[in-house]
């Protein structure tokens, strides 16, 4: 793979940026996340987790099984603020019409 290959699609972070963070002393996925924003985007590291673990493993010569994932954060999946705020007018269930009429991206594929 090329060093410029994108690993984190949400934040457009490539292999080279991740390796630079490791060179700076980053040991874990979370360290890399804080330096590069890798895994901080809307998918919450669902796409890049194993890719980043593999880079850390190769770079540090540790078995893949020893490399942990990033810390999972509530709410795990995009959730509307209105839902959590307890506003009766909004809810996690939205109509098919408004769903197709809006461009939600992530949420409707689940």
């Amino acid at each position: 793979m090329d060093k410029s290959t994108i690993v984190c699609r949400c934040e457009e972070i490539n292999i080279d940026e991740i390796e630079s963070a490791i060179k700076m002393g980053a040991h874990t996925f979370d360290d890399i996340k804080r330096i590069t924003r890798c895994g901080m985007g809307p998918c919450q590291a669902k796409i890049c987790t194993t890719l980043v673990q593999r880079i850390i493993s190769e770079y540090t010569d540790k078995p893949l099984s020893d490399i942990g994932p990033s810390r999972m954060r509530m709410p795990l999946k995009l959730t509307r603020i209105g839902v959590l705020a307890g506003n009766k007018e909004s809810s996690s269930v939205i109509s098919v019409f408004s769903e197709s009429a809006s461009k939600e991206g992530e949420t409707k594929n689940d």
């Binding site: 002393g25 360290d31 804080r34 330096i35 985007g41 919450q44 509530m74 705020a85």
Partner: protein, 361 residues
């Protein structure tokens, strides 16, 4: 890496790394910064990072915050783009009865040169149209802003390293001894010696104090924060409670709980935070939350920074405070003056550690 240093700083958060950077500018001292983890894994990486001045009270504390905010543009020219933005700050209130308090605040802060306008509903909505029409007014000041804490700490460290300072991460301090005027600092990775020692461990400074046999009068406070998906520009100002980052995310939160070092997020506080978001900005009800996080902050018992010499231990210093992001450029500057010249350009009397002892007498 040698073992002997002029200065050892424990803690590489925004305060420890700022002190290391400012000290390293003169290139006179051999400096080592030790951290039990990796930078940004503690308080400095879990903050909204306001550079907030206007309603810090009493006014002398506001004044101190203002001096620090004034240093940010210069800091940025020296260490690089930390995404500092002087957005102006808005602190909304919902009851007309609060206007009286707002006016008193403006009057007090004006004495030290902090300009505050007390706005009515129309004036607030003109500045920030997305705010709820149910607000009664707000205090506003041009001096407030925010910064990217990740860029800030990373660039402090990079600049310090360029100036020759050394850093040791993932290296918890196990023991601190003092003999023959030298500190012996035993860590997981080995033993280091220092002529001067600075404790800058934020909420974890309490444990460092125990190694030195002193009780540091601080407690831990948890703050929980919601991060939205990237949104089109919605708010221009730093609002007491939320701010929008360069990439469009809005960070929301203003909670304080005393739960020790527990860093979990909890549904009840997140729900209240979501409620606050919608009360302030009704449009946010339709915004998606990407994640929530919480941070442990440090709170000195009287709320003000503890800065300067540690009583009865020569050459030991402390720099611990809430609002480390706001104060870091000033604290780095003042600690450098104190360590290299023995005195500071701003009187630190109110911030000294020994004020706590005096209270007990």
């Amino acid at each position: 890496m040698t073992n002997q240093y002029d200065v050892v700083v424990i803690g590489s958060g925004v305060i420890g790394s700022s002190i290391a950077y400012h000290l390293s500018e003169s290139k006179q001292k051999e400096i080592l910064v030790i951290d039990k983890g990796f930078p940004l894994s503690g308080t400095s990486g879990s903050t909204q990072a306001w550079v907030w001045v206007h309603n810090k009270t009493p006014s002398w504390y506001g004044e101190l915050s203002m001096y620090s905010a004034e240093l940010y543009p210069f800091l940025e020219r020296k260490i690089g783009d930390v995404e500092y933005k002087r957005t102006g700050g808005i602190a909304p209130f919902f009851n007309e009865s609060d206007r009286e308090k707002a006016l008193r605040l403006a009057e007090k802060q004006a004495e030290v040169g902090i300009d505050i306008e007390v706005l009515n509903r129309e004036q607030v909505l003109e500045k920030e149209p997305a705010l709820s029409p149910t607000i009664a007014g707000a205090t506003y000041s041009k001096i407030d802003g925010n910064v990217n804490p990740f860029r800030l700490v990373e660039l402090y460290i990079k600049a310090a390293k360029r100036n020759g300072a050394e850093f040791s991460f993932y290296n918890p301090v196990i023991d601190i001894d003092k003999d023959n005027g030298n500190f012996t600092i035993t860590t997981k990775e080995g033993v280091f010696y220092a002529k001067q020692l600075i404790l800058a461990g934020g909420p974890w400074t309490k444990g460092l104090g125990e190694l030195l046999g002193i009780d540091i009068p601080v407690k831990q406070v948890r703050g929980q924060i919601i991060v939205t998906e990237p949104l089109a520009p919605l708010i221009k100002h730093t609002i007491g409670g939320m701010r929008q980052a360069d990439n469009g995310e809005i960070l929301i939160g203003y909670s304080k709980e005393e739960v020790g070092y527990d860093r979990r997020t909890t549904l009840d506080v997140i729900q209240d935070t979501a409620k606050m978001a919608v009360d302030y900005l009704p449009d946010l009800a339709r915004a998606n939350i990407v994640r929530c996080f919480s941070g442990i902050r440090v709170m000195p018992h009287d709320g003000f920074p503890i800065l300067g010499e540690i009583p009865e231990i020569d050459n030991a210093f402390i720099a611990v405070m809430h609002s480390g992001i706001t104060l870091s450029p000033l604290v780095g500057t003042l600690m450098t003056e104190l360590l290299t010249e023995g005195e500071t350009s701003i009187d630190l009397k109110r911030l000294r550690f020994n004020r706590f002892n005096e209270c007990n007498v």
